[in-house]
Symmetry: C2
Subunit: 217 residues, 2 copies
C-alpha cells in the first residue's frame, strides 16, 4: 500500500481546510481504522463526494495529514529558543529548563496521540514512521547535541559524543512518565512529577557529563 502524500497542498479552499482540520483531529485522536470517511464528512460539514473530490482515498488523506502533523508539531519553538541561549555560569538551570520544556512537550496530549498513531500504523504506512523519526527525535537530538557540544567547548560540560550524550539525557527524562502516559495508565502526570523526573535526570546527567568528568572508562 504505497500511497503518495498529497503533492500540491498549495490551493486553499474553505472546504478543503475544513476537511483537513476535522480529519486531523479524528485521525490523531482515534487512529486510522476507527475513523470512517462518513465521520470525517460529518465533522467537516461536507458530503462524502466532496471529500473524494479533494483526496483520492482514505489512505492518501491519512498520509497527508499525519505527515503534516509530524512536520508541523514536532520541535517546540520555545525549546529551539532555549537552545539559542548559552548559560552565563552554571549549566544546571539551563538543563533543568530544557528538560522541563522537552518532557512537557512530549507529554502533551497531541504529542502522545501522534506518537501512538505513527507506531500503530507504522506497518501500513512506513513513510510515516520515517517522517516522524526525521522531524521529531532526530531533529531534537541534533539540536540538543549541538548545544551540548557548545557547552563542552566552553568548559561547562564534558561531552565525548554529543549525540550519544543527547540520547542519554533524553533517555533519562522519558522513562516512567512517558510510557505511562503513552499507554494511558493512571492519571496524567502532574507538574510536580515532571519536575521531580527532570531533577533526577539532570542530576544523573551532570554526574556523568559535568565539568571534570573523565570519559574514558
Amino acid at each position: 500500500m504505497n500511497v503518495q502524500v498529497e503533492a500540491s497542498p498549495g490551493i486553499e479552499s474553505p472546504k478543503r481546510t475544513a476537511i483537513l482540520d476535522a480529519a486531523t483531529d479524528l485521525f490523531v485522536e482515534q487512529g486510522y481504522g476507527a475513523v470512517s470517511m462518513d465521520a470525517i464528512a460529518r465533522a467537516a460539514n461536507v458530503s462524502k463526494a466532496t471529500l473524494y473530490a479533494h483526496f483520492a482515498s482514505k489512505d492518501a488523506l491519512f498520509a497527508t495529514i499525519i505527515n503534516e502533523a509530524c512536520r508541523a508539531r514536532m520541535l517546540p519553538d520555545d525549546f529551539a529558543a532555549g537552545m539559542a541561549l548559552d548559560p552565563c555560569g552554571d549549566v544546571r538551570p539551563s538543563l533543568v529548563a530544557l528538560g522541563r520544556r522537552l518532557l512537557g512537550f512530549l507529554l502533551e496530549p497531541r504529542s502522545l496521540a501522534i506518537h501512538r498513531v505513527v507506531i500503530a500504523e507504522g506497518a501500513r504506512f512506513p513513510e510515516l514512521g520515517r517522517a516522524f523519526f526525521e522531524n521529531g527525535p532526530v531533529k531534537t537530538c541534533a539540536a540538543l547535541g549541538a548545544w551540548l557540544a557548545r557547552q563542552h567547548e566552553a568548559g561547562r560540560l564534558t561531552i565525548g559524543d554529543p549525540l550519544v550524550a543527547a540520547d542519554h539525557l533524553i533517555g533519562m527524562l522519558k522513562p516512567g512518565l512517558f510510557l505511562r502516559a503513552t499507554l494511558g495508565i493512571g492519571d496524567p502526570p502532574t507538574q510536580a512529577e515532571i519536575d521531580a523526573t527532570v531533577e533526577h535526570a539532570v542530576s544523573a546527567f551532570l554526574r556523568a557529563y559535568g565539568p571534570g568528568c573523565v570519559q574514558g572508562r
Copy 2:
C-alpha cells in the same frame, strides 16, 4: 468497550489451541483492525462458527491473547537469572551483560510487535496497557532496582533511589535503536550496534552511579 478476558482458559482442546496459536501470530503481527475473523478461522483450519463457540467476540479473543502474551513473554528468563548473581569484583562486566540481554530482548521482533500492538490499541483496550505495563516495564525495573540496591550495599555502586537508577540505566539503553526498530526504519540493529549502545550506556551509568559518586548535587 469493556471486554472481559477469558475467565477459564483451563479446558484444553486441539481446536482451541489451534485458534489461539493462529490468532496470536496474526494479531501480534498485524494488529487488531487488520485481522479479520475469517482470516483467523482460515489460518487455524476451523470454521468461523467454531471460533465463536470458543470466544464470545473478536474483542474477547484479542484481549485474551494479548493479555496472555504480555504475561508470558515479558521478562526474559536469562535476565532474571543474571539478576541472581552478584559480581565478584568490578560491576562493569555484569552491567554490560545485563544491558546486552535486556536490549537484545527488547529488540526481538516479537517484543517489538507486542509493544506496537499494545500502544496501538491502548485506547480501545485500556486493560491491555495495564497488563503490559505491570508485567513488563514494572517487573523489569523492580528486578533491576533490587539488584542495584544490593550492589550499593556491597559498596560497588552508589545508588540513591534504586528505581530511579534502574529507570536511568534502561532509559540510556533504549534510545536510538529501540525507537528505530519500533518504527521499522532502516535495517534491524546489528549486534555491533547493540554492543556499542550498551557500552556507552554502562559507561555513562558508572560515571553517574559508580562507587564514590556523590549523589546530592
